[in-house]
Symmetry: C2
Subunit: 192 residues, 2 copies
């Protein structure tokens, strides 16, 4: 039976959701699919490429959105956060793939945020940096939120003020984005 | 011979720097110190507490700084980034400890950034959120930077545009901070 790339990515995503990123290895994945590790390397030269494909699968729901530049930043980042939280260790996996330059979907998200910053009036030399600043905030915030959600789910005892249940994470997330949007506005020469 | 808490933290930090966070386990640490795992649990109830102590050790150099509120934000965050980059997997370890509420040093850094935001004129209800936004940016940026530095050091092949050597990470880091400072300024009722 032929092994399709898409099936490998689906199996890897299932493995991630069930056991977390530490157990997502080429060896384990081959065992799940009942194939030799060599069959996986036919599709993915190394683990980084596999993680990149899983990252792109996780980010499928983060599509393009219409609206003003600030609406687009808020909505793209909201979808990005939702997508990361929908999979075990999603923030960690996507961060690693982004750092390794292996996620096409993250490159596309960065381009859309760069365009939004440019539409805000940020000059071409800095629009990409502004977009990266937004992405780092989203990844940092969501990694923190997901850690606490997963520890809560695992029944770990955390200091009470750390429990995500005691605060409204969506409102906190939106506040940080509003701060970044205000910063982008302030740095743009165009009056909105 | 009595096992001092400080010696355990030093040995854990050495283990981290040599082998990374994945190999920093209570069992491995006990073996390095030539004690039983029980001797470690006398000082640390669980691994999260140990990681919190290592995080505090890593962050020792991030002390208080004088200056205007925006200078303080820039300098505290610059020292935080330097400290995280000084230890293998520093960003990942400190992020995890921060999420678990186990790092006293991160709590102190958050308080200092909150005070800086309050001095900028951000109201009390939002100064803490502004400080967290800044912290998430620093953690997200530095985790990304450290991943690429460590892959470069390990000789991993990354797409050329991902190599930290091709860009000036300190200037990029400073740009994002300036954006956040502009956002905090814009949200503050006080004219600076």
């Amino acid at each position: 039976m032929q092994l399709h790339k898409r099936d490998v990515v689906e199996a890897a995503t299932t493995l991630l959701d069930s056991y977390g990123i530490a157990d997502l290895t080429m060896r384990r994945l081959a065992r799940e699919l009942d194939v030799s590790p060599g069959a996986l390397y036919w599709h993915f030269a190394n683990k980084q490429q596999l993680l990149g494909a899983v990252a792109d699968r996780i980010l499928e729901s983060v599509d393009d959105v219409p609206g003003s530049w600030s609406d687009r930043i808020a909505r793209i980042c909201g979808r990005l956060r939702d997508a990361l939280l929908s999979h075990t260790d999603g923030a960690e996996l996507v961060s690693a793939s982004f750092a390794a330059g292996q996620s096409k979907a993250m490159t596309l998200i960065l381009t859309r945020l760069t365009n939004a910053a440019a539409d805000a009036g940020v000059d071409a030399a800095h629009a990409g940096l502004a977009a990266r600043t937004v992405v780092y905030y989203v990844l940092g915030f969501t990694a923190d939120e997901q850690s606490r959600l997963q520890w809560d789910a695992a029944g770990a005892e955390l200091p009470e003020e750390q429990s995500v249940l005691t605060e409204d994470p969506s409102a906190r997330f939106a506040f940080g984005l509003a701060l970044l949007v205000a910063g982008i506005s302030a740095r743009s020469p165009r009056v909105l």
